[in-house]
Structure formats: structure tokens, C-alpha cells
């Protein structure tokens, strides 16, 4: 559980008592709500977005209580915690998995694994001249993808296994601090079926969440390697083809964006889309976070923007309530917009 605990400690440290533990939970689960998306930007937790998707709520609470009982975190009131000095020390000693890149890779991680594991299985059977086997992936798109890759690669049956092996070897050997066995023993090939996640965690002697985190870290390492040095890996580079990395806006927000660009007002968009105004406001906050060219001037005048930023800086806080008390003429929506637009840059 070392890394799972460490990752939670890291989040608690970053949010600095301004959010409850459930904000942390939602970040690790990868919840696609405006609040969570805003939080990861405000507190620089983008890399940890969705990296513990399978984490159950009660397991999460259990870990928190356990860390409290160990004296690593100190309760600060309703579901809020700060790190103790021993917690700080622990986080420093252990650190967090360095390749995790949730916000950028979270939504492609599953399909990347599906493609990767199927490619290995197909190649392995191909070089052994076996054509009758059960594909371990059922996703039709992935099945079509693998067919297309084999056709495009123009490699003979004798070459392709060797080439894939070399590329993977090179990729893995470069990675300091990763353990390739986290992924490799999960792979299936000719007359050799890979381990399930649960079996792998048992083999590695770690609990399932710890395993999931390490597995994800290793996958993100691979993705990053392929993304940045794809030219060195002619076969592996196919794994990312056609996938949109860092696809930042949720689908529903994208529709709002389209209408907004056509000049509709918030109210008009809400009416048109049959959504609450507050939902559309959430989308706008999302734009402020992610789209550089999106200007918030139409919604908050420059003067008010400055005022909000000053208060936020003085009080060194991102808690809306505290800011609102001092700038009463600003609405919560306006404060959120300003923090979303400039918050990240100010504090990082």
C-alpha cells in the first residue's frame, strides 16, 4: 500500500486543508465533474487524475483512517486532514510513482492496454503458426485495429516477433524505477495465458490497489515513451495511432463550447440544451481552465478580476467562501472563473 498511501498524502498536502478527503477520492477515481476538473488544475494534481479508478469508497476511507491512526495525518475538522511531520517525512522518503500522467493519458489507458495485449497475443500466435485461438480482447474496434497494423507493418512472420521484442526490451530497459514484470506477466501469447490483475498482484505480493497503481504507472511510462520517441519504435508507435491524447473537454462541455462560439449567452445555451444554467457555468469554468484563448472578460470585468486575485493571494487560499466574504459583489461563478483562468499560473 506504500504508493497508494503516498499518493493520497501527496494530494492532501497539495489541497492544504481546503477540500475534504472526498475531493481527493474523486480525483483518484477520475470523476468527470467540473469541480474535480477544477481541483486538479488549481492544486496541480493533473497527473493523479483517475489513476486509482477501481478504488472503492470504503477502502479509501479505511486507508485514511489507518493513516490517521498511524499519526501521518491529523484531522482538521469535518473530513479534512493535514500531514503531520511524520506524514511529510514518509511522503518524502517514498515519493509518488513518477510516470503517472492521469489527466493526459487516463482516457486512453484502457484502450492502449487492450491494443497492446492483443498485439502481443496475435504476434505470438502468428510466429508459432497458430491460427486457432481465442482473442483475449473482445472489443471489435481493437480487433480491426490489430488486423490493420499487421497489414501496414509489412514485416514477415519471422521478423515481427523479433522486432516487437526488441522494441519492448529497449523501451523497458530505459525506464528507471519501473518494473516491467508488472505488465509482462499479464501478457498472453501462444499456449501461454497471462495473469489476471488479481493473480498478478498476488504474485507481486502487493494489494490490488497498489498493483493497479504500479501497473498504471508502467503503462503511462510506455505511452509517454512512445509518444515522445515514436520514431524509434516503428511497431509500438501504432499503439497510439488515432488516439487523442490530452483530450481535455468532456463531450457535453464541447457542445456548449460550440454554441458559445456562435455567440449564444449562458441562458440561451441552457435553454437550448435543456440544462441548468449552473451546468453551463460549470462548462465555462472548464474552458477557463483549459482553453487559453477563452477570455473571461465578458463574464467578469477586469477590475473585479484583479480584486479577486488579490484577495486570493493575500489569503493564500482557493476556498471560494473566504474570497466571497471579502469581495461580496462577485458571484461564486465569477470567483471560480477567475481562479480557473489565473489560479494555476499564480501558484505554480
Amino acid at each position: 500500500m506504500e504508493w497508494v498511501e503516498s499518493v493520497i498524502l501527496y494530494c492532501l498536502k497539495k489541497i492544504n486543508n481546503e477540500r475534504t478527503i472526498y475531493s481527493v477520492y474523486h480525483i483518484l477515481k477520475g470523476k468527470k465533474s467540473s469541480q474535480t476538473i477544477q481541483d486538479i488544475h488549481l492544486y496541480s494534481l493533473k497527473r493523479l487524475f483517475g489513476v486509482l479508478e477501481p478504488l472503492a469508497r470504503d477502502s479509501f476511507e479505511e486507508i485514511i483512517h489507518c493513516m490517521r491512526d498511524n499519526g501521518w495525518i491529523i484531522e482538521q475538522g469535518e473530513q479534512k486532514y493535514l500531514l503531520s511531520s511524520s506524514g511529510e517525512q514518509r511522503l518524502k522518503n517514498i515519493g509518488i510513482p513518477i510516470f503517472l500522467n492521469g489527466w493526459r493519458y487516463h482516457h486512453v489507458t484502457t484502450i492502449f492496454w487492450e491494443r497492446f495485449s492483443l498485439l502481443v497475443q496475435v504476434v505470438s500466435n502468428l510466429i508459432n503458426q497458430e491460427s486457432s485461438y481465442i482473442p483475449i480482447q473482445k472489443n471489435k474496434k481493437v480487433l480491426f485495429w490489430v488486423k490493420a497494423v499487421l497489414k501496414e507493418s509489412h514485416l514477415s512472420r519471422s521478423e515481427i516477433g523479433e522486432k516487437l521484442y526488441e522494441e519492448l526490451n529497449e523501451c523497458f530497459e530505459d525506464g528507471k524505477g519501473i518494473d516491467p514484470s508488472m505488465i509482462v506477466f499479464r501478457l498472453t501469447g501462444f499456449r501461454q495465458i497471462g495473469l489476471t490483475a488479481q493473480q498478478a498482484s498476488k504474485k507481486m505480493n502487493v494489494n490490488v490497489y497498489e498493483y493497479h497503481l504500479t501497473f498504471t504507472n508502467t503503462l503511462h511510462y510506455l505511452i509517454e515513451k512512445i509518444e515522445t520517441r515514436g520514431a524509434n519504435f516503428p511497431i509500438l508507435t501504432h499503439l497510439l495511432k488515432g488516439l487523442e491524447l490530452g483530450d481535455e473537454l468532456t463531450i457535453t462541455a464541447r457542445k456548449t463550447w460550440k454554441l458559445l462560439s456562435q455567440g449564444y449567452s449562458i441562458e440561451m445555451i441552457a435553454k437550448n440544451r435543456n440544462l441548468k444554467t449552473s451546468t453551463i457555468e460549470d462548462h465555462l469554468v472548464e474552458f477557463a481552465l483549459q482553453i487559453d484563448r477563452f477570455s473571461i472578460d465578458a463574464f467578469v470585468d477586469k477590475e473585479l478580476q484583479l480584486e479577486i486575485l488579490q484577495i486570493a493571494n493575500q489569503a493564500a487560499t482557493k476556498q471560494l467562501k473566504l474570497i466571497k466574504e471579502k469581495v461580496s459583489r462577485a458571484s461564486y461563478f465569477q470567483i471560480r472563473l477567475v481562479l480557473a483562468k489565473y489560479g494555476d499560473r499564480q501558484w505554480n
Binding site: 510466429i127 486457432s132 523479433e162
Partner: protein, 502 residues
């Protein structure tokens, strides 16, 4: 061409198994056929082979999506590309694509729900259907343990397709059920190919054991002693999980649990590990087994009693498909029957749930034409499980078609539910009676299907006596083969040809 040549050419087998040739010959003669062939003897061949003789398409109705998927894949592995499954897995786009080129497919699998659509039926009517196959045909009969209301309409559907040549397939059906199948499909002149339900190479052993702990110990003992691989069946997912852990820890055995609560990836891997002999024991719920073609399963243990004799036979029938000696244990503790009784009731809606639902219907969301108007969430609010809800919906739709009043409709649904519960209970009692009886186990089972014992079997059952040595493990368990291997070595094993590795 001789049937054997066709068999060799398309399927690679040299000879037919019991009943296959009779059924196939009858079909090729143009006779409707009801074939009851025991589990694991290749029922699907009975429609696959005629597919290569007939010009038109083979339409196969199959009740379970997973089963359908398995059969499609099986044909795919034989190199048959003209196969398609029409079920709810298809997107609208895919469905339309397939429906536009139906005539290009030789084997068309379809779920009974899909056959309810008049649009699809119309498409099928324009198709030359050489053979109409009803798989798991016992689902047609109200007397069958697995009755499915939408199966009962197959007779009508068959008629609207112009009464094509028909093959009804089942593994386990009593005489009453078989009669129902024939009547319901309207194939009174059908040739009946009924091979025995007996599997003489599987010995049957029932043991009464006091209490859960002792049962667990006994399973560990058996799993250590018996020749593997084997399957242990449970009624609860949790117990299957626990036993798999115990087997790994205490017996140093390669074991895994398998049940419907696992995600699809995991289920596929575990099934494949078992088939490739990487696992010795599977601790499973009844979700495991469909489509698992493994020849050398040596034992089956039932930790809990199944809900009816038919299911028991299906489950033990997964052992010994290679014809070699295998054994089926059933461990019974007094009171075990409570669990199946509870399960039986939970599969059907309660009287209160039905009353509540009709109250909902009365206050506004009634039945219009044959369309049902429920508010979203009615299922959740009424606490209906998936199985219960499907049943209720089906029954309501049928009643609405007959334009009965709400009150009549309610009464007839209640009546139906009560009948089903009574029948399920009767099945459980029959199972229990068999367990508690001191007659030859095999004879009892055969009699249940109105068969007679024809010859004595050496290794028969706990009543007749068997020599347990026949089933003991011949060698010590090997350690898990992944013990010390490095990732590089493993990866090389997958991706490099053996010559290169050496």
C-alpha cells in the same frame, strides 16, 4: 459425399459421436428432428454440417448471449467467415449493416428477443432458410426448469417464416418437456433422436457432511487427493472466492474463482488458463462451463446442491469428455436445501411487488396498445431484479396483446408466478430426494428421464460402490510454473521463435 468425408473436410474429425449421425441424416432427409444429446457431445455439429450441404442459410435461435458468442467464435476458428450473431450487443449501425446482407451469411444466430421485431422478421422472410434451429429447446416448455416466455412464441414465428425444416436441440429434457417442444413448434412428425443421458465414465458420489467447516476440510482433502483438473461448483460467489484462496494457501494448488461478478477480461483469462492447464482447479458458480471445451476434466465437486437434476447433469457432464474415468462428488449438509429455496423465490417477483406494479399502472401509466408505459426507474423503485423485470415485462406485453383488463392481467401474472414457484420447489425436492435416497444414483437419474438401466457399470456410485483409487492423483502437484522466471525470459517466450531462444 459421404457424411464422414464431410466431417473430416470441414471439422477435422474422423467419426461421429453418439446420436450425431442419426440427427444429421434425418435432417438431410428433410425430416424435422428433435435431438436430445448429452452435454459435451457436440450438439452444434448437427446444424453445422448440414450447413455445408444445404444451399440456404441456417437460422439458429439461442437463448444465451454468451453461448451464442461461443458458437460464433467456434465456427470462426474452423475458418467459417459467413457467421453472424444478431443480438443486443450489436449497435444500430452494425445491425443495419448485417440486415442488409443477410443472404451473405450461412449461419445466422439470433436471440429470441430479436425475433419479436416485425422488421427483422420481415427481413428473415425474404431469406432462403434451409434449416431453423432451436438451441436449448427445453426453454420452450413450461415444464422445463429454464422456461423462457419469449421461447414459447417460436412456434408462431416458425409458421410466419413458412414452416422451414426444423431442428430442436436439447441436452436434458424429460419426456413431458420433449412432448411440449414438439407441440409448441408444430413438428408432430419429427424424428426423435434421443440418446441416453447417462455418462458411464463419470462415477457419482454423494456424501453427507455435518456443517460448513467439515465440508470445507473435505473439499481441501478431495482436491489434494484427486487427479486434476477439476471444477468445484458453489451457489455463492463469495464462497467460491474463499475456497480458491484456501486451495492456493493450504493445498499449494493453482486455483482461481470464476463467477459472474468478475469483469469480462478476467473471465476470459481464467477460462483460457484452465483450458491451457495453467490452473488445476476452478471454484465456480453456475456461470462457468458454457462453451468451455476441455476434454480432460477429471472431477466435479458440488459444494452446494444445484436447483434441479437437469442442472446437475449439465454440470457433471463437463467431466470426462475424453471418455476416461472421472468422478462427480456432491457434498450435502442437512439444511442445504434452504439456499436453493431462497434462490428460487428471488428469481420471481413477489406478490407485493406485483400489487405495487399494478397500482403504478392504475394511477396513470397504463398499457397503450401493446406498448408499455413505465416511468423511468420503476424497476428500481419496485425493487425488481434484472431477471424479475424481464419476466414481468414479457408477461405484460403478452397480456396487453390479448387486451385483457388490468385486473385479469394481474391475476394471470400472479397465477403464472405461483405455478413457477411451485414447480421450482418440486424440482428442488426431487433433487433432495435423490440425494437422500439409498437407491443406485445412476438408476434414479435414468428413471427420472424415463430411461432404464441397461447394463451394470463397474464404477457406478456411492451406493453400488466404487474404487476411489481410480481417481487419485498420479503425481504430485507441480509448482506454479511462473515461479522464478524473469520478465525478459517470459517476453522472449512469447515473441521469439524457439530456435532463436536456444
Amino acid at each position: 459425399m459421404e457424411l464422414e468425408n464431410l466431417l473430416k473436410k470441414h471439422f477435422g474429425y474422423l467419426s461421429f459421436k453418439t446420436g450425431q449421425k442419426e440427427a444429421i441424416s434425418a435432417i438431410l432427409n428433410g425430416q424435422h428432428t428433435l435431438a436430445m444429446l448429452p452435454t459435451g457431445t457436440g450438439k452444434s455439429l448437427c446444424y453445422q454440417l448440414p450447413g455445408y450441404v444445404f444451399d440456404g442459410s441456417i437460422l439458429i435461435v439461442s437463448p444465451l448471449l454468451s453461448l451464442m458468442q461461443d458458437q460464433v467464435e467456434q465456427l470462426g476458428r474452423l475458418g467459417e467467415k459467413r457467421v453472424v450473431a444478431l443480438n443486443s450487443f450489436l449497435s444500430l449501425e452494425e445491425k443495419n449493416y448485417v440486415l442488409d446482407r443477410l443472404q451473405d451469411y450461412k449461419f445466422i444466430f439470433i436471440s429470441p428477443e430479436m425475433l419479436q421485431s416485425s422488421f427483422i422478421l420481415q427481413k428473415l422472410r425474404n431469406l432462403a432458410i434451409s434449416l431453423f434451429v432451436v438451441d436449448e429447446a427445453h426453454c420452450i416448455s413450461q415444464w422445463g426448469y429454464d422456461f423462457r416466455p419469449d421461447y414459447s412464441k417460436l412456434g408462431e414465428i416458425r409458421k410466419s417464416l413458412g414452416c422451414p425444416l426444423t431442428l430442436a436441440l436439447t441436452a436434458t429434457a424429460t419426456r413431458k418437456v420433449r412432448k411440449d417442444i414438439i407441440q409448441s413448434l408444430g413438428i408432430e412428425d419429427a424424428v426423435k433422436v434421443e440418446s441416453t443421458i447417462d455418462r458411464p465414465n463419470i462415477a457419482i458420489w454423494i456424501e453427507e457432511i455435518e456443517g460448513y467447516q467439515k465440508k470445507t476440510d473435505r473439499v481441501l482433502e478431495l482436491a489434494a487427493k484427486l487427479e486434476k483438473p477439476g471444477i468445484i461448483y458453489f451457489s455463492s460467489k463469495k464462497m467460491a472466492e474463499q475456497m480458491a484462496l484456501l486451495l492456493e494457501e493450504k493445498n499449494n494448488c493453482n486455483a482461481s474463482a470464476y463467477h459472474g461478478g468478475l469483469d469480462q477480461d478476467t473471465r476470459i483469462l481464467i477460462q483460457q488458463q484452465f483450458i491451457h492447464n495453467q490452473l488445476d482447479v476452478i471454484c465456480a458458480t453456475s456461470a462457468f462451463g458454457m462453451g468451455v471445451n476441455k476434454e480432460n476434466i477429471r472431477f466435479i465437486i458440488h459444494f452446494h446442491m444445484p436447483m434441479q437434476i437437469e442442472s446437475y447433469l449439465q454440470e457433471i457432464g463437463r467431466a470426462g469428455r475424453d471418455g476416461l474415468a472421472s468422478i462427480a462428488y456432491l457434498l450435502y449438509s442437512p439444511g442445504d436445501e434452504q439456499l436453493p429455496f431462497q434462490l428460487a423465490e428471488s428469481e420471481l417477483p413477489s406478490e407485493q411487488q406485483i400489487d405495487w406494479l399494478f397500482h403504478e399502472l392504475e394511477i396513470g401509466h397504463g398499457i397503450k396498445g401493446d406498448a408499455l408505459q413505465f416511468n423511468q426507474g420503476t424497476q428500481e423503485r419496485g425493487g425488481f431484479s434484472e431477471v424479475q423485470w424481464r419476466l414481468v415485462e414479457n408477461l405484460l406485453r403478452k397480456e396487453a396483446k390479448e387486451k385483457s383488463s388490468l385486473l385479469d392481467c394481474k391475476e394471470s401474472i400472479k397465477e403464472f408466478v405461483n405455478e413457477r414457484i411451485t414447480m421450482k420447489k418440486k424440482n428442488i425436492y426431487q433433487m433432495l430426494q435423490w440425494i437422500l435416497s439409498n437407491r443406485c444414483r445412476r438408476e434414479f437419474l435414468l428413471n427420472y428421464f424415463e430411461e432404464q438401466v441397461t447394463s451394470r457399470i463397474e464404477q457406478c456410485c456411492d451406493i453400488c460402490g466404487i474404487d476411489e483409487k481410480n481417481y487419485s492423483a498420479s503425481h504430485k502437484l507441480r509448482k506454479n510454473h511462473l515461479g522464478k522466471i524473469e520478465w525478459k525470459e517470459y517476453l522472449a517466450g512469447l515473441l521469439l521463435n524457439s530456435e532463436l531462444r536456444e
